[in-house]
Each structure stands twice: as structure tokens, then as C-alpha cells.
């Protein structure tokens, strides 16, 4: 690898390693075991030596280390943790947060924040429940209506952010309040039960003990990873988030990138809403209240930069699992729920602190 080149050696005409070689391993990012023992780019760039320090690498590996530590700890602390049934529970519990976090990751990479995801889940669960129980359109059309709601939310977010030029934090926060209000009006503030169990049965249906909701989660992460890493859209999302004006000058239509991103987060949140309706057997205007903060915790724990242009979706999944395992483990250990709340808050703070630190270290 080029990392073994002594500092100051001239750039060879062509690298000793064919550029395509080891393609698959490289795309694993930090999962690639070959990178674990190779020193980072600090060696490669003598002028900037020390910029990628041990601490940076610790931050890089931290989320995976935390995941492993928590896993080992809870499997020792509770005899129920490692049971198949409990692990399925963890999976089902993180499915919705995980799906929302995938969307949030893509938005953050593009340099935008979408805080409508929680309200989106709420209103989509309501739309699905109304479709099944009040309008009697059948389960599949009700689900489609729910997903369309997600598309519309994405369109409105895009208009507010791209056309009206409102900061995405403010725009999506404000719009999420509108959505909650609309959901309350649709249901008169009530939880609306699903009279047809089809959706419930589908979401909890297990394929080789894996619930469908978890399968959807896995498929979304694989597709998200492929999109961000291998497609031109993905590259444009990274560059737009990293430097919008440079991307624009390079001919990338950044308005279109933002549009795509908000549609993706809107639809993914709608998928979360459909699964929530299925899990609960009902639609409720207050469902997933405050979910955007759990989602942000997971995303920031995964090291997705708030400034945009960086982050990997597989790390978000690790962040989601850390939170899921923490919640599950604390419950198994019968920790008082007030303390669980405290722990969640503390993890959120920790995630923000880590994000701030790595941000500072990355900027010059």
C-alpha cells in the first residue's frame, strides 16, 4: 500500500498497487481489518504530520468498540441478554429508529437536518390507520397513502429549504409542529386502531426468526451504503454537503441534490411510520414523539459530521445498535426508568461532544 512509502518519496508514475485492486475491502471503511494496524494518513503527509492522531483513530473506532463493550457487558450482566428472543426484541425495537437514522444520515451528509422525521412517523401511522379503519381502502393502498404522505413532506421540506432559503433546522422543526397538529386534527387526538390485522401480521412476520421490520432495516442500510458509496448521486451528496458552492461551480445541481435527500428522508420516515402502525396495531398522532432526538443521538454517535460532507452509513447502524442495546440492557437489569432516561440524555450529550470534537479536529 502507498502508506508504506517513506515521507518525501516522489510520487511514482503509477502506483505499485493497481487502483482497482482490493476494491471490496477498501469500501468496508473501518470494518476493513487491513486498516486497523496501518497508520493513518499522517505518515503520508509529512507537512501535516500529527493531524491524524491516535485520538482521531480512537474516535473513528470508538463506536464499534462501544458496541462490542456493551454487548459483552450485558451478556455477562444478564442471563437473558444473549437469548434469541431478546436479540430479536432488540432488532424490532431499533428497526424504526434505525430506518429514520438512515435517512437522517443521508440528510446530514448533504449538510441538511430533517427534524420532521418524528412527526412524519406520527402522521403516517395515522394516515395508514385511517386508510384501513375509516376509509376502508385496504391495507396495501393505505400503506401507499402513508408513503405518499412521506413524499409530500419531503417536497414541502425542499420548498422551505431550497426555494424559501430557510435553514433546514428551523424549517423542518416548524413544519414538524404543523404535522403533529394535522395528525391531532385527523384523529381528534385519539389513537386510531387498525381493524384489519394484515399489517400487524406482516411487520411481525419472521423469516428465519428475523422480523420483517428488521429485514427492511437491513435492506435500507445496504441500499443506502451502495447509493452513498458507489453512485454518482451519492458522491454528489457528499460533495454538496462538504462544499455546496464548489459543487455548484462544478456543475452539480445542488437544489436537486437537496430535493432528492428530503424525499429520501421523508419516505424512509414514512416507512418507519408504516412499521410503527404495524407494531402498535394503531395510528397515533403522538407516536414517535421526540424520535428525532434518538435518531440524532444514533447518527452523531456514529460520527456523522454535523457540518456535512462526511460520515458513513454503516457507522450510523452501529450507533443505532449501541442505543438499542443500551436501552434493552438497562431494562433487563431492571434499572429504574428515570435513570434510563438520564442515561439516554447522557449518551446524547456524549454524542454531541464527540461530534463537536471531531468537527474541530477536521477543520483547519
Amino acid at each position: 500500500m502507498s502508506s508504506t512509502k517513506p515521507p518525501g518519496a516522489p510520487l511514482p508514475q503509477t502506483s505499485s498497487v493497481a487502483p482497482g485492486a482490493g476494491l471490496k475491502m477498501r469500501h468496508l471503511g473501518i470494518l476493513n481489518p487491513r486498516t486497523w494496524f496501518v497508520r493513518g494518513p499522517a505518515q503520508l503527509v509529512p507537512e501535516r504530520a500529527g493531524r491524524t492522531s491516535k485520538f482521531d483513530r480512537f474516535l473513528d473506532l470508538g463506536i464499534y468498540a462501544a458496541l462490542i463493550v456493551l454487548f459483552i457487558f450485558f451478556s455477562q450482566a444478564s442471563p437473558y441478554f444473549l437469548t434469541e428472543r431478546n436479540l430479536v426484541n432488540v432488532g424490532a425495537a431499533v428497526a424504526v429508529t434505525g430506518i429514520l437514522a438512515a435517512g437522517m444520515t443521508i440528510a446530514l451528509v448533504a449538510g441538511q437536518l430533517d427534524l420532521t422525521v418524528g412527526a412524519n412517523v406520527g402522521i403516517v401511522s395515522v394516515v395508514v390507520a385511517l386508510g384501513v379503519s375509516t376509509w376502508h381502502v385496504g391495507t396495501a393502498p393505505a400503506v401507499i397513502l402513508g408513503l405518499l404522505t412521506g413524499v409530500i413532506i419531503g417536497v414541502v421540506n425542499t420548498i422551505l429549504v431550497v426555494k424559501v432559503h430557510i435553514n433546514s433546522i428551523i424549517a423542518t422543526l416548524a413544519f414538524s409542529i404543523v404535522l403533529r397538529g394535522a395528525a391531532l386534527i385527523f384523529t381528534n387526538g385519539q389513537v386510531k386502531p387498525l381493524i384489519d390485522p394484515t399489517l400487524q401480521n406482516f411487520v411481525s412476520y419472521q423469516v428465519l426468526t428475523i422480523p420483517v421490520s428488521v429485514l427492511i432495516l437491513i435492506v435500507i442500510y445496504i441500499l443506502g451504503w451502495i447509493m452513498l458509496t458507489f453512485t454518482r448521486s451519492g458522491w454528489h451528496i457528499y460533495s454538496t454537503g462538504g462544499n455546496p458552492s464548489a459543487s455548484q461551480r462544478a456543475g452539480i445541481k445542488i437544489g436537486r441534490v437537496y430535493f432528492g435527500v428530503f424525499i429520501v428522508t421523508g419516505v424512509l420516515a414514512a416507512v418507519g411510520g408504516v412499521i410503527t402502525a404495524g407494531n402498535a396495531g394503531s395510528g397515533g398522532p403522538a407516536y414517535a414523539n421526540g424520535a428525532e432526538f434518538d435518531v440524532l443521538t444514533a447518527v452523531l454517535l456514529g460520527g456523522i459530521g454535523l457540518a456535512g460532507g462526511s460520515g458513513r452509513i454503516q457507522r450510523t447502524l452501529a450507533g443505532v445498535l449501541v442505543i438499542g442495546i443500551l436501552n434493552n440492557g438497562l431494562t433487563l437489569l431492571s434499572v429504574n426508568t428515570y435513570y434510563q432516561q438520564l442515561a439516554r440524555g447522557a449518551v446524547f450529550v456524549l454524542a454531541v461532544v464527540l461530534a463537536a470534537i471531531s468537527e474541530q479536529r477536521r477543520s483547519r
Binding site: P19, L23, L44, V45, S245, A250, R364
Partner: protein
């Protein structure tokens, strides 16, 4: 580096790639540029010097297609051009390396080189080809870069400049405008960047170099155009001029009346074999 390019040196006998005639620009009632005429030839570095407010930035923005000139015309390879936007200018083979370099710090060198023109293979980005060509482009530059996979934020100022220049080469531009490329660099790095500029010239590009630094211009430019208060104070061939003369042009504007300007134009016109 074709043999043709080698023979093209300070005498500027190359084909005229870009010619500006009587360019002027008004911002409301404020005149930023008046009657700016010059040309740049294949395989030459034309430096544009001038104090703050001399009109350098306005001029390059016009050439880059970011501003409409109020009067005058731009001719590229003998064809009159009207730029309605930066994409028109780049379609004509004009590329601008901005002072901020327009790089995405979080992305690696190769992704930046091919920003906005990523090769595709089927539905995917052709990473293999992008990384391969990125290495080829960078090995053609004199600036040393650790790897095409290093993110920009780990690079030094000069290395970033090299990436920005590399991007121009990816775009296939042959008229390259560089806005203060050494402004933020140390002595050694500046030297390497100027070396890059000379390499571009030797490979047959026309380079327009905007600079404050007369010493660096002197090492690099074939011809020097001095601007003063929105006009061309004079265009000099470096080998036939002195630092003193250039400094006087910068400070006093010299021959800035219209008659003299035309004379300068005419004498330059003789050199153009076209």
C-alpha cells in the same frame, strides 16, 4: 508536451486562444472597467498585475462568464463568444482556479479532481477509472501528493492548489485563469505552484495569472499586463521590460490614455501569427 509546445516560449508566437477587445463594465453608474483589450496565446503565461481596485477581479469574472461585459467582446480561437454563465465559459475551454480553490475538504483527491464529471459504469461511479486517471493526472504535475485517496483537509495549501489545477486539466480546458494562486502559501510552496504554472505553459496551455506579487510574476510570466483604475496601463513582454517600468505602470498607470493603449495593442497584434 508536444514538440510544438516546446518551441513556444517568451516570444509568444503561438495561436491566439483568447482575445478581448474593448471590454468595459459598469456597475450602475460606477465604471469598473474601460476599454480593456488583450490576447493570450497558446503556450504563454500572461500575468495581470494591478493594485487593489484596478479591475482585475472584474476582468476575470467576465472571462469566467460570471459577469456580462457592458461593452466589448471576447473571442475564443477566432470565434466571438457571449457567455451567459460560467458553464458557457468552461464549454469554450476556459477554466478558472478560484482563490478559494473550490475543493470539497472532506472528499479525497480523486473525487475532487472529477467533481461533477464522475465517470460512470452502468448505474455506478467508475471508481477504478477515476482513481487510475487521477493518479495519471497527478503524476504529470510537479507537486508531490501522498495519494489520490487522501482527503483534501489533510493536504497543504500548495498540494490543494495542485488538485485545483489538476481539476482544470480533467476538464480539458486550454485557457486557464488563476486568481492569486500563491496568496496563501509559504515561499517554498509558492515556488512549487509557480513551477506548475510553467509546466502548464510548456504543455501548450494559455495561462492568465492574476497576482499581486511582482517578483513571482517576473519568474513566471511571458507577458505582463498592468491594470490601473479599470484600464490597461500597459502590456509588456517580460524580456523587453524592467521591474522598474512595471512598478511605475502599477503605481502611476502610465500610458492610460486611449491613444497609447491602441498603440500597445497594435504592437502586440504584430506578434500574433494567428
Amino acid at each position: 508536451m508536444s514538440p510544438v509546445a516546446k518551441s513556444v516560449t517568451t516570444d509568444a508566437q503561438g495561436e491566439v486562444l483568447l482575445k478581448a477587445t474593448g471590454l468595459g463594465k459598469m456597475f450602475g453608474h460606477v465604471r469598473a472597467l474601460k476599454d480593456v483589450s488583450f490576447d493570450v496565446r497558446k503556450g504563454e503565461v500572461l500575468a495581470i498585475l494591478g493594485d487593489n481596485g484596478a479591475g482585475k477581479s472584474t476582468l476575470i469574472k467576465i472571462l469566467a462568464g460570471a459577469y456580462d461585459p457592458t461593452e466589448g467582446k471576447i473571442t475564443v480561437r477566432g470565434e466571438d463568444k457571449v457567455f451567459t454563465g460560467p458553464s458557457d465559459a468552461s464549454a469554450s475551454g476556459i477554466a478558472t482556479v478560484y482563490q478559494d480553490l473550490a475543493l470539497v475538504d472532506t472528499r479525497d483527491v480523486a473525487a475532487n479532481l472529477f467533481l461533477g464529471r464522475e465517470y460512470r459504469r452502468g448505474p455506478f461511479v467508475d471508481r477504478r477509472r477515476i482513481y487510475k486517471e487521477a493518479e495519471e493526472i497527478l503524476s504529470g504535475l510537479t507537486m508531490r501528493l501522498p495519494s489520490v485517496r487522501v482527503p483534501i483537509y489533510l493536504l497543504s495549501g500548495g498540494q490543494r492548489q495542485a488538485v485545483a489545477i489538476g481539476r482544470v486539466l480533467v476538464g480539458g480546458a486550454d485557457i486557464i485563469i488563476m486568481d492569486e494562486p500563491t496568496a496563501a502559501l509559504g515561499v517554498q510552496e509558492s515556488e512549487r505552484v509557480l513551477e506548475l504554472v510553467r509546466n502548464l505553459r510548456d504543455s501548450g496551455k494559455a495561462v492568465i495569472l492574476i497576482s499581486h506579487n511582482l517578483q513571482q510574476v517576473w519568474q513566471t510570466a511571458d507577458r505582463i499586463m498592468v491594470m490601473h483604475l479599470g484600464r490597461v496601463a500597459g502590456i509588456r513582454t517580460r524580456t523587453q521590460s524592467t521591474v522598474d517600468e512595471i512598478v511605475k505602470l502599477i503605481v502611476y498607470g502610465g500610458e492610460a490614455d486611449d491613444g497609447e493603449l491602441t498603440a500597445t495593442d497594435a504592437s502586440d497584434g504584430k506578434g500574433a501569427a494567428g
